[in-house]
């Protein structure tokens, strides 16, 4: 466990940089997290994915995989990889302040 200061608040992160306490996340933090991942500006589509990730996490206890995102978020697999080039589920989970999604497909 490490801590980081995002948008003026100290938050707990796990060893891979995912939020340990998703409740502490704010949208202002997402902007800073996105910059750290190399995304200069979060578009409406980025936000669609981020909010979808969070709602799935709070409903199911784990974030969605890329396939689940492609099927249900309203953003296609192709677009997901354009929005989050370093792996959509992982990268979006980090920005959305939820733990790393589990699942193989």
């Amino acid at each position: 466990m490490t801590t980081a200061t995002l948008a003026g608040t100290t938050v707990e992160l796990d060893a891979e940089g995912f939020f340990a306490e998703p409740e502490t996340w704010t949208e202002a933090m997402a902007v800073e997290l996105a910059h750290a991942e190399g995304i200069d500006e979060l578009t409406d589509q980025h936000w669609t994915v981020i909010h979808f990730m969070r709602s799935e996490y709070f409903a199911k206890g784990t974030g969605p995989t890329v396939r689940a995102l492609g099927k249900s978020s309203g953003v296609s697999v192709k677009e997901l990889y354009q929005l989050f080039p370093k792996g959509p589920a992982k990268m979006a989970a980090r920005i959305a302040g939820i733990p790393k999604p589990k699942g193989c497909i």
Partner: protein
């Protein structure tokens, strides 16, 4: 995390359900982890990208001890179809995509898809026999060049 794998080249050489899925899962998973991934289809693995055949991939019921089915029983006409159907319905419940859907999805992730020239010639096929997601038909030399700097996985 210093030894992170950045690139994988996965060879699919078998044309059975259990011969094709693992390579597809690994390629898709590599892209999901942000790695570069290329798929190379050779010999009977070409059926995975064959436009007319990839909807009809069967589970091997003969010579497959993991299935715990007597070899003679696995050879009875229709058994392979029934077992394939059973396996596919189990996989669908777990939200596995079908092979055609999976090929399309993996291509959408940005992974490369290539057919082996020697096998294509051996089976008398052309690019038109394959699904549009196939990027090219390449030689083994092209493959090694493309795989440079990454890991190679043979399935």
């Amino acid at each position: 995390m210093g030894d992170r794998i950045e690139k994988v080249s996965i060879i699919i050489s078998k044309g059975s359900l259990d011969g094709i899925y693992p390579g597809l899962i690994m390629a898709n998973g590599a892209r999901a982890e942000g790695m570069e991934a290329n798929l190379f289809f050779t010999f009977f693995g070409l059926d995975a990208i064959h436009a007319k055949r990839h909807e009809h991939i069967k589970l091997a019921t003969v010579g497959n001890p993991g299935l715990h089915l007597a070899t003679w029983a696995g050879g009875i006409p229709g058994v392979s179809s029934v077992m394939t159907h059973y396996m596919e319905s189990k996989m669908a419940k777990m939200d596995f995509p079908s092979i055609p859907e999976f090929i399309e999805m993996i291509s959408d992730t940005g992974a490369g898809m290539y057919a082996c020239l020697a096998s294509v010639e051996l089976f008398g096929l052309t690019k038109d026999d394959f699904v549009p997601q196939v990027d090219d038909i390449i030689t083994v030399g092209d493959f090694y060049e493309m795989a440079g700097g990454g890991q190679i996985i043979f399935t």
